[in-house]
Symmetry: C2
Subunit: 218 residues, 2 copies
C-alpha cells in the first residue's frame, strides 16, 4: 500500500477502493479520486473510460482477491466441517487485512442492481467472480449436509447467514465497535471474531451435541 513504484492505474484503484467503501459510488466524485491519487481529473479518464468502469474495476479487484483466497480451500481433501472452519478463517483474514473490502462488498450488493452489471463487460466479470464464490461455498455446505457431516438445513440460507455474520461484522464500523466496546480490527478482536463465528457455526450446524466446555446436561 502507498507504494512508490505502483503504476498510476494501481494507485487509482487503491485510493478509489477506500473512497468508494466509505461513501459509495454516487458519493465520490472523479475529482476526489484524482486528488487522492495525486493526478489530474483528466488522467483518470485515460486509464478508465468512465466512472462506472472505474467502479467496476475496483469491485472486480476486491472480488478477485476473495476468489483467489477462498476457492482453493474448497478443493482441499478434508471434511466439510474442517473446510468451513478454514473458509471462515480465510474470509475473516481477508476482511481484516483489507479494511475496505467488507463495506465495498456490502455496497456492491446494493449498487450492482442500479447500473445493470450485465451490460458492461467488467460487470460480467464481477458477476462471474461473485457467483463462483457463492456457488462454491453453497455446494460445499450442501455436500456436507448430504454426507450427514452437517445438520440438514437449507444450504442457501446457511450461506446467507454466513455472509451476514462475517461481512456485516467487519462492515459495521462504529456501531460494531460500540457494541463490542473496542476496535474491530485489532489482532485480538479479529481472533475473537474468528473463534466466535466458527464456534457458532459448529453448534448451528451440528448433527449432534457439540462438546461444550462445561459439559452440562439436563
Amino acid at each position: 500500500m502507498s507504494d512508490v513504484n505502483a503504476s498510476s492505474r494501481d494507485k487509482i484503484l487503491e485510493v478509489a477502493e477506500a473512497l468508494y467503501a466509505r461513501r459509495g459510488f454516487a458519493g465520490v466524485g472523479m475529482r476526489e479520486v484524482a486528488d487522492a491519487a495525486g493526478l489530474g481529473k483528466s488522467s483518470l479518464f485515460h486509464h478508465f473510460r468512465s466512472k462506472v468502469q472505474l467502479y467496476l474495476a475496483v469491485l472486480e479487484r476486491v472480488l478477485g482477491r476473495i476468489e483467489e483466497r477462498l476457492l482453493p480451500i474448497l478443493a482441499l481433501q478434508v471434511g466439510a466441517a474442517e473446510k468451513l472452519d478454514r473458509w471462515i478463517d480465510a474470509l475473516i483474514d481477508e476482511l481484516a487485512e483489507q479494511p475496505a473490502t467488507a463495506r465495498m462488498l456490502l455496497r456492491a450488493l446494493f449498487e450492482e442492481e442500479e447500473f445493470e452489471t450485465g451490460n458492461w463487460p467488467e460487470g460480467q466479470a464481477v458477476d462471474r467472480r461473485l457467483a463462483a464464490v457463492l456457488e462454491g461455498i453453497t455446494r460445499m455446505i450442501a455436500i456436507g449436509m448430504r454426507n450427514g457431516e452437517l445438520r440438514a438445513a437449507s444450504a442457501p440460507h446457511v450461506v446467507q447467514t454466513l455472509i451476514g455474520a462475517t461481512i456485516f461484522h467487519f462492515a459495521s464500523g462504529e456501531i460494531g465497535e460500540g457494541l463490542l466496546g473496542g476496535p474491530l480490527l485489532s489482532a485480538e478482536a479479529v481472533r475473537v471474531r474468528k473463534e466466535e463465528t466458527k464456534t457458532f457455526f459448529h453448534y448451528g450446524l451440528a448433527t449432534r451435541p457439540v462438546p461444550s466446555a462445561e459439559g452440562e446436561r439436563s
Copy 2:
C-alpha cells in the same frame, strides 16, 4: 401506503425512504424526491430544512418502527430463548412488511459516520433509537447466558451475527434471490427464513443438545 389522506410531509418521507433505500443518500437528489412525491423541489425545503435533515427524518422513522415493535418483546415474562424467538419473528416480519427497511438500515450503518450524527438533533434521536434496540437485545442475550439458558458466549458477537443474519438477508436483493432460487419476500420465503434463522440460533446458542428430528445422541 400511498394514502390519499397522507399529509405532504408523510408522503415525502414515504417516497424518500424507498429512494434512499435503493440508491443511498448521495445517489438521490431533492428533485427526484419531489417528483416522486408530486411536489415542487422548493416545497421539500418547506417541510425539511436541508437534505441531511430529510434523510435523518426518514432514518428515524424507520428506526422508530423497529423500536416500537422490538422493545416490548424484551419486557415479556418469558424465558430468554422464547424472547429470542419472538424477537427474530418480529424483526423478520418488520423487514418483510417494509421492504425498504433492511437496506435503509444497512446504508445508515455506513452513512451515519459521514455527516456526524451527533451534531444534528435528529441525528441524536437516530443514535438513541439505534442504541436502545441494540442494548436491549444484547442485555437480554447476556442475561440468558448468565442464567445458563443460553450457551456462554460473547453476547455482542451473537448480536452482530443476529443482525447480519436477519438484516443482510432481507437486504440482499437479487443476490439473495439468485442464491435461494426464488423471491425473498413471498409469504412462504419469509416463513422459511424465520424457521431457518430461529433453528440456527437454537442450535448455535444451545447449552445442551437441541432435540433433533432423529434424536441422535453421542
